[in-house]
C-alpha cells in the first residue's frame, strides 16, 4: 500500500507528468513561463488548488454524489468547487501575500480554467482512487506541473539573455519547442514506475 502510494507520487511527477505527457494546463504553462519567479508562484498556487480541490471533490463525489446516484452532475460540481476554491485562494493571497497577488494579476483566475485541476478530479474517478491515493495523486500532479513549468521558465529566462531566438519562434513558439524537448528528456524516466 505504501509502495503503491509512493509509486503514484513518483509516476505523476516523472513518468506521467501531467504537463509533459498529457499536455494539460498549457494555457498558463505558455503565458506564465516567462520568468522563473512567476512560474514558481503559479506552480505553488496550482499545488494548493489542485490538492485542495482533489480532496474536496473526492469527498463530495464519494459521500454525496455516489450515495444519491447523482454522478451525472459530477462535472458541474467539480467545476463549481474548483471555481470557489480559486476565489478563496485569491482572497487569502490578497490578504496575506499581496506581493504574489500583484505578480499574478489576471493569471490567477486562469487556475479556474486550468485543465490540470479538472483533469485530476476526473482521473481520480476513472482510476477509482481512494482518498489518500487521490490526495497524493493530486499533489504529485501539481508538483509535476510546477516542475515542468519551472524548468521551461528557467530555460526561457536563460534564452532571453542570449536573445538569439528567431523572430518567428519568439513567445509561444519557442515555449512549445522547449516543452517538447523537456518532454523527450522525461521519456528517459519511462519504465521506472507505472500507474494504471
Amino acid at each position: 500500500m505504501k509502495l503503491q502510494i509512493l509509486s503514484i507520487f513518483i509516476a505523476t511527477i516523472f513518468t506521467h507528468n501531467i504537463a509533459l505527457t498529457y499536455l494539460l494546463g498549457m494555457c498558463p504553462f505558455i503565458s506564465l513561463s516567462r520568468s522563473l519567479k512567476t512560474a514558481w508562484g503559479m506552480g505553488l498556487s496550482v499545488i494548493f488548488v489542485v490538492t485542495l480541490t482533489g480532496a474536496l471533490n473526492w469527498i463530495i463525489y464519494h459521500w454525496i454524489l455516489v450515495p444519491t446516484q447523482s454522478e451525472l452532475i459530477s462535472y458541474i460540481v467539480f467545476i463549481i468547487v474548483i471555481a470557489a476554491s480559486v476565489q478563496l485562494l485569491e482572497m487569502i493571497l490578497e490578504k496575506f501575500l499581496p506581493g504574489l497577488q500583484v505578480s499574478f494579476g489576471i493569471f490567477l483566475p486562469l487556475i479556474t480554467v486550468n485543465c490540470v485541476v479538472l483533469a485530476v478530479s476526473l482521473f481520480m474517478v476513472i482510476r477509482d482512487y481512494n482518498f489518500i491515493q487521490t490526495v497524493v495523486f493530486a499533489f504529485g500532479s501539481a508538483v509535476g506541473w510546477t516542475l515542468a513549468i519551472t524548468i521551461v521558465a528557467a530555460i526561457k529566462e536563460k534564452l532571453s539573455l542570449s536573445g538569439d531566438v528567431p523572430k518567428g519562434l519568439q513567445g509561444a513558439g519557442i515555449t512549445m519547442v522547449i516543452a517538447g524537448i523537456v518532454a523527450l528528456t522525461f521519456l528517459g524516466f519511462a519504465g521506472m514506475v507505472a500507474i494504471q
Binding site: 446516484q69 452532475i73 460540481v77 500583484v102 494579476g105 489576471i106
Partner: protein
C-alpha cells in the same frame, strides 16, 4: 428523471455561496478609504472595489468602452499616491512615459487604502444623460442618423468636434460616437453611426433601437474640437463617419457666417457612401469661403461621377499645389491661396496617418493638425 441530482446541486451551490460570503467578510475588508481628487474633491468610500466603480457611483464619468475588463485602455487617470504597483493587465496600454508619470487604468486599480489622484478638469464636468430616440433615418446603405433628445439633464454643452458615449443595454459596455449636430442646439445630439459587421453597439443601434426608446449617454469627451480662439484657415479631411465631428465644426462656423476659409475633403468608396452632399453643396453656394471636395476611390459606372477620383490623400496632394505658400488650386479658374492653415482630420487610422504625411510634406506642422482616429 429523478430530481435528486438537481437538489444536490442546489444544495452544494448554496453551501459554497455561504462559505464564500463568509470568507469575503472575514478576509476582504479594507474599511473606509479616502479618495482625494485634484486635492479638491474627496470621496469617502468603503474599500475593496475598483476605482472605476467609485467614479461611476459618484457620477464622475471617465471615458471607457469595455466595461472594466482592461481591454480598451481608455480609462487612464493619474495616481499620485496609494495606487500600488502597475498590474500586468495594464502594461499593454501604458507606455514608459505614462508609467513614470503614474498613469493607471482606473478599472484595474483596487481601492485598498487612501488614494490621491488627478483627473483632468474637463472630465469632472462630464455627466450622464437620459435620452429618448427622436428619430432614426438612413444616411447611406450602412450609416444611420440617430437623433437623441435629452431628458435628464435637459441640456448639454460641448465643443464642436467632441464625442459622447452611449451605453449598450444589457452590458456594462459603452461605445463612443462623435456628435454631428450643432453645439448651439443644446437639447439634442445627433450621431451618425455606421453598421460595423459583428459590432456590438452598431448592431444594436441599427437593428434593435427604435424611435421612442430610451438611451443613456455620457459626455462630452475628447480633445478633438475646433480651436475657437484661432483665426487660421481650415482644412478638414474626413472619411465615412468622420463626417460627424466635421459637420459639428461646420455648424459652428456657419452660425458665425464662416469667418475662416474652410476646405473640406471627404473620402468615400462610391456614390452610395456619400451623405449630406446636398447640405454641403448648399453651404458652398452660400459662402464663398467654403469649398466641399468629395472624392470617390472606386466610383461605379452607374454613379456617373464627374468629381474627384482617387484616394483622399492623392486628391489632397493634387489640390495643394504650392507647398511654400500653401496654395490650393480648387479649379482651373479659381485659385485660392491659403496661408496660416490648421487642419482637422477624422476617419479611419490608415487614412489619417496618410493624410498627416501629406500635410507635413506640404509644410503644415503637427501642432496645427488635430485628429480623431476611430
Amino acid at each position: 428523471m429523478s430530481l435528486i441530482p438537481i437538489l444536490i446541486m442546489v444544495l452544494i451551490l448554496f453551501v459554497i455561496t455561504i462559505l464564500l460570503a463568509l470568507a469575503e467578510h472575514l478576509l476582504v475588508n479594507y474599511g473606509e478609504c479616502e479618495i482625494s481628487i485634484n486635492k479638491e474633491k474627496i470621496l469617502n468610500v468603503i474599500g475593496g472595489g475598483y476605482l472605476m466603480e467609485y467614479f461611476t457611483r459618484n457620477k464622475i464619468f471617465i471615458p471607457s468602452a469595455c466595461g472594466g475588463k482592461a481591454t480598451c485602455g481608455h480609462c487612464k487617470i493619474k495616481i499620485l499616491s496609494g495606487g500600488g504597483s502597475i498590474l500586468p493587465t495594464e502594461e499593454v496600454y501604458i507606455n514608459k512615459h505614462e508609467k513614470e508619470a503614474g498613469i493607471r487604468l482606473s478599472c484595474q486599480v483596487k481601492v485598498k487604502n487612501d488614494l490621491e489622484i488627478y483627473i483632468q478638469e474637463h472630465l469632472l464636468e462630464t455627466k450622464m444623460y437620459k435620452t429618448k430616440v427622436e428619430s432614426i433615418s438612413p444616411l447611406t446603405h450602412d450609416i444611420k442618423q440617430i437623433i437623441l433628445k435629452l431628458i435628464e439633464p435637459e441640456t448639454i454643452s460641448m465643443k464642436p468636434g467632441q464625442y459622447i458615449q452611449i451605453a449598450i443595454p444589457g452590458t456594462e459596455e459603452f461605445r463612443a460616437y462623435s456628435v454631428a449636430s450643432a453645439i448651439s442646439q443644446k437639447d439634442k445630439v445627433e450621431l451618425d453611426i455606421r453598421l460595423v459587421p459583428g459590432g456590438l453597439c452598431s448592431t444594436y443601434i441599427h437593428r434593435v433601437l427604435e424611435v421612442g426608446d430610451k438611451a443613456t449617454i455620457t459626455g462630452p469627451f475628447g480633445d478633438f474640437y475646433l480651436n475657437e480662439a484661432s483665426d487660421k484657415n481650415i482644412i478638414c479631411i474626413a472619411g465615412g463617419c468622420g463626417m460627424a465631428p466635421i459637420r459639428s465644426i461646420l455648424f459652428y462656423l456657419t452660425e458665425r457666417n464662416m469667418p475662416r476659409k474652410v476646405m473640406y475633403f471627404f473620402g468615400a468608396r462610391s456614390k452610395k457612401d456619400l451623405f449630406y452632399t446636398e447640405e454641403l453643396k448648399e453651404l458652398e453656394r452660400k459662402y464663398s469661403n467654403f469649398i466641399y471636395i468629395p472624392a470617390l476611390s472606386e466610383p461605379k459606372a452607374s454613379d456617373k461621377w464627374d468629381g474627384e477620383v482617387g484616394l483622399i490623400t492623392n486628391v489632397l496632394e493634387k489640390y495643394i499645389t504650392n507647398q511654400n505658400h500653401f496654395e490650393v488650386n480648387i479649379t482651373a479658374t479659381y485659385e485660392e491661396s491659403v496661408t496660416n492653415v490648421e487642419s482637422y482630420l477624422c476617419g479611419p487610422p490608415p487614412m489619417i496617418d496618410a493624410a498627416i504625411a501629406v500635410l507635413n510634406k506640404k509644410g503644415i506642422n503637427n501642432e496645427d493638425i488635430y485628429f480623431d482616429k476611430f
